[in-house]
């Protein structure tokens, strides 16, 4: 109250103040501008303030996703961890729900006011349940298909009248979900991690022929345009293309006025109806003509459905020209394309065997800096596909960065799809960057995104190692190796071999400051690899075996790091398991080992090595000479040396 009374006075007070302060500079203008315009009240929704707050913070790449607990022990460190932790939590929630449903009598209390349905156990319908039209309506509204069907059957048994309206609603529900219970909305993680089941089911007829949907359709008398539309859309959604088309014909013959969505549904399955591109194109045109006859205005889904059909054309030139025609036509109709439209354009224009197309440049110029919301199911495919095009089709890092920028504009990240598409996106992004960016620049992005946003798969890790190899950036290896251990990549032979190769080929330069601690760390890595393979932890079976080259590299690295004791331990392992390790270490490794034996004054070990060389048919002459020159050998050693390489080595 106090403030409201004060407010007008405050207003005049400020304006006076303003007027005087302005007046000091130019007193003439002040008189006309002494009123402050208070803007009209803007109506806000309850969540507006939350949205405004949320827009001030973005994803923090230094922290794990907020669905994980913020505790070192509970933060996932590998792709498997991310998946299992989130799914485990959801499994726990499912267990709780199961208990609630099993012991429904314990959860009947009503704490909240007004009561919240989601906390109460669900109704169970049996033969004896008391049902009426409202129950059915309610179930349909909550998309509980199984229960709705039970209640529907019960009502029919009991002879309760069901209105055509309700029947139509039930038909629509059943057609939409193909008579199957959908995944409840509350299981977010399951949906996020579901391994692209849609892709596997693509192009397969899953419509349930002759089941409840068609019975219901038969029961609705007289038929209406809506009932035809529901059935046609259901059939085309689950790829029962022929019958959907036949129904469409039937409806047109009976002069029912169908709607745009129904036509869109049939257009999108026209590649199942006709074999060749020409026929498909003809069918699409025919359907569009029919729409025009019925004065139906096409919309965004029509555009996307047409492009979907065009993308199945084998003939590249034909597909391209048809796509352009469609685009031009819809531009005239002033229909704004969605990301899904661009996705189809990309798969039409940028084909593996087709000529190189730069359409993505134009697309990006068109949509740069724009914020998108989901309008079409295929909108979520755009980013992964666009990054794929950047990597495999054009090999252009600046484009890739533009796409990444677009992805992080506004709420566009919502359109990344699911975990599968997200990882595909980053896989392409990383692979492209580590091939094209200088290694320092690349590591900046690596530091930013790994491990909280993205964890590289073994294949991408190999690409990164290749980039490191090319740049000889051995100082990155300790970091990358520890990452590989955390991400559980060490059972991959190719990665381990390449790591060792990089370490062997790039000895540290003492004069570079960043290389000061490298020899020490390299020795540690080599020892770590040796231990991981020779004595695997736990009950896990050995999934990685030594090869001659691998263990030779380990030996060499240990020698170089000056750890003679461990090096001789590794050599003993080589010597003992000769027949179990395929291949032999290179002569160079053994040579270095013998040199270090000389340095450490261990003639017996040097001779064992020589024996190994002789037994494995390698060139033993240089090594024998070196041993002879390096040591002052006693009788026993000398006679052994002679027995190994013969009498005449000294004379040579």
């Amino acid at each position: 109250m106090y403030l409201t009374r004060r407010l007008p006075r405050l207003c005049t007070g400020t304006s006076q103040l303003l007027a005087t302060s302005c007046g000091r500079f130019n007193s003439k203008v002040a008189a006309s501008e002494d009123r402050i315009e208070i803007p009209n009240r803007v109506q806000r929704s309850p969540t507006d303030i939350l949205n405004a707050l949320a827009s001030t913070v973005g994803r923090d790449p230094t922290a794990p996703h907020y669905k994980y607990h913020d505790d070192p022990y509970l933060i996932p460190m590998s792709n498997v961890g991310k998946r299992t932790f989130a799914m485990a939590q959801e499994a726990g929630r499912k267990a709780a729900k199961f208990i609630k449903e099993e012991h429904r009598d314990l959860f009947k209390h009503q704490e909240a006011q007004p009561s919240i349905e989601a906390f109460a156990p669900q109704m169970v319908f049996t033969e004896e349940s008391d049902v009426n039209a409202d129950t059915l309506q309610n179930l349909i509204r909550h998309s509980q298909i199984t229960d709705a069907i039970t209640v529907y059957n019960l009502m029919k048994q009991k002879g309760i009248e069901i209105t055509n309206d309700t029947k139509q609603q039930l038909l629509e529900l059943i057609c939409f979900y193909n008579n199957e219970e959908p995944l409840p909305e509350e299981w977010i993680e399951e949906r996020w991690f579901k391994a692209n089941a849609d892709a596997r089911e693509r192009n397969r007829k899953t419509w349930k022929d002759g089941e409840l949907a068609e019975q219901l359709f038969g029961e609705i008398e007289p038929k209406t345009a809506q009932s035809y539309a529901a059935l046609i859309r259901g059939m085309s959604k689950y790829f029962q293309a022929e019958r959907a088309y036949a129904l469409l014909q039937e409806a047109t013959e009976k002069q029912f006025e169908l709607d745009t969505q129904t036509f869109n549904a049939v257009i999108s399955v026209s590649n199942f109806l006709k074999e060749t591109a020409d026929q498909r194109w003809e069918l699409c045109r025919d359907l569009l003509q029919q729409m025009a006859h019925q004065h139906l205005r096409p919309n965004l889904s029509t555009l996307n459905a047409l492009l979907e059909v065009v993308s199945t054309f084998g003939n590249f030139k034909f597909a391209r020209s048809s796509a352009l025609k469609v685009l031009a036509e819809f531009k005239q109709l002033e229909i704004e394309p969605s990301l899904g439209t661009y996705y189809y354009l990309l798969i039409i224009f940028c084909r593996e065997r087709g000529p190189v197309s730069h359409i993505i440049v134009d697309i990006l110029n068109e949509i740069k800096g724009r914020e998108f919301t989901i309008q079409h199911p295929k909108d979520t495919y755009f980013f992964a596909t666009a990054m794929d095009v950047c990597r495999n089709h054009l090999h252009d890092k600046s484009l890739a960065k533009k796409i990444d920028e677009l992805l992080h504009t506004g709420n566009n990240y919502d359109l990344i799809g699911d975990t599968y598409k997200e990882s595909v996106y980053y896989r392409h992004y990383f692979a492209l960057l580590c091939q094209t960016e200088p290694i320092d620049e690349f590591m900046k992005i690596y530091d930013l995104l790994v491990p909280n946003v993205y964890i590289p798969e073994p294949g991408i890790m190999e690409e990164i190692l290749k980039a490191v190899e090319m740049n000889g950036a051995v100082e990155l290896m300790p970091r990358l190796w520890s990452d590989m251990v955390i991400f559980d990549h060490i059972s991959r032979e190719s990665l381990v071999t390449r790591t060792l190769q990089i370490l062997v080929d790039n000895p540290a330069h003492e004069d570079i400051p960043s290389h000061q601690s490298i020899p020490d760390q390299v020795g540690k890595i080599a020892l770590d690899i040796y231990k991981k393979i020779a004595e695997p932890e736990g009950r896990r079976p050995k999934d990685l075996q030594f090869t001659g080259k691998m263990i030779g590299d380990i030996l060499m690295l240990l020698v170089r790091s000056g750890d003679f004791e461990k090096a001789s331990e590794v050599f003993t392992h080589i010597d003992k398991n000769q027949h179990r390790i395929p291949g032999t270490p290179s002569e160079k490794c053994l040579q270095e080992y013998v040199d270090s034996c000389i340095e450490n004054k261990a003639p017996t070990k040097a001779l064992t090595c020589l024996q190994y060389v002789v037994e494995n048919n390698m060139d033993s002459q240089p090594m024998a000479e070196r041993i002879n020159a390096g040591f002052t050998l006693n009788e026993v050693h000398l006679s052994k040396l002679k027995s190994l390489v013969g009498e005449n080595f000294v004379s040579k």
Binding site: G92, R93, F107
Partner: protein, 171 residues
């Protein structure tokens, strides 16, 4: 002096008489020394001095708001606060549920914080089970408690590698 003694004696006799008659009919008269010893929230010293206390346990209740904070945070006991008794009972239920569900894993007090319709439960856990199992229990606890209390419940856990990590002193 002797008079006073006499008086007292007489008084005592009277009271004895009185108490006997009252004991026979209703309740006894308390004549033993004053007993205002408090024990709640205090731990007895053991002979071997091997009873482990956390920081929370090491500070008796009169240190609340000085050295340590409350275990339940809500506004039910303030002026015009809602549901004071229900809140207390629910808190007991939640604590029992937590210690039962996370059996032998909780190494601290269970802190219950209520804000609006939201309940946050904080505790320190031992890393005795795999993180995967922990996540299962987190999901289970949150969901079941929210069914029971009919409001969103979140767990805010921290883990320690060893039980000894939370020991403040031995008495």
């Amino acid at each position: 002096m002797s008079l006073l003694k006499k008086c007292v004696q007489q008084l005592l006799e009277n009271t004895n008489l009185c108490s006997q008659t009252i004991a026979a009919t209703a309740a006894a008269f308390h004549t033993s020394p004053v007993c205002n010893r408090v024990q709640a929230g205090r731990y007895r010293v053991t002979t071997k001095r091997n009873r482990a206390l956390t920081y929370e346990m090491a500070n008796p209740p009169h240190y609340i708001a000085h050295r340590k904070a409350w275990n339940s945070w809500n506004t039910s006991s303030m002026l015009d606060g809602l549901r004071p008794s229900q809140t207390a009972i629910e808190d007991v239920f939640m604590r029992k549920f937590m210690t039962g569900t996370w059996h032998a894993l909780i190494v601290s007090e269970v802190i219950i914080k209520r804000q609006h319709n939201m309940i946050r439960i904080a505790a320190i856990m031992r890393q005795a089970i795999s993180p995967r199992k922990m996540y299962f229990l987190i999901g289970y606890t949150e969901e079941l408690l929210s069914y029971w209390l009919q409001c969103p419940v979140t767990l805010e856990l921290q883990t320690v590698a060893d039980k000894k990590d939370v020991v403040f002193k031995y008495i």
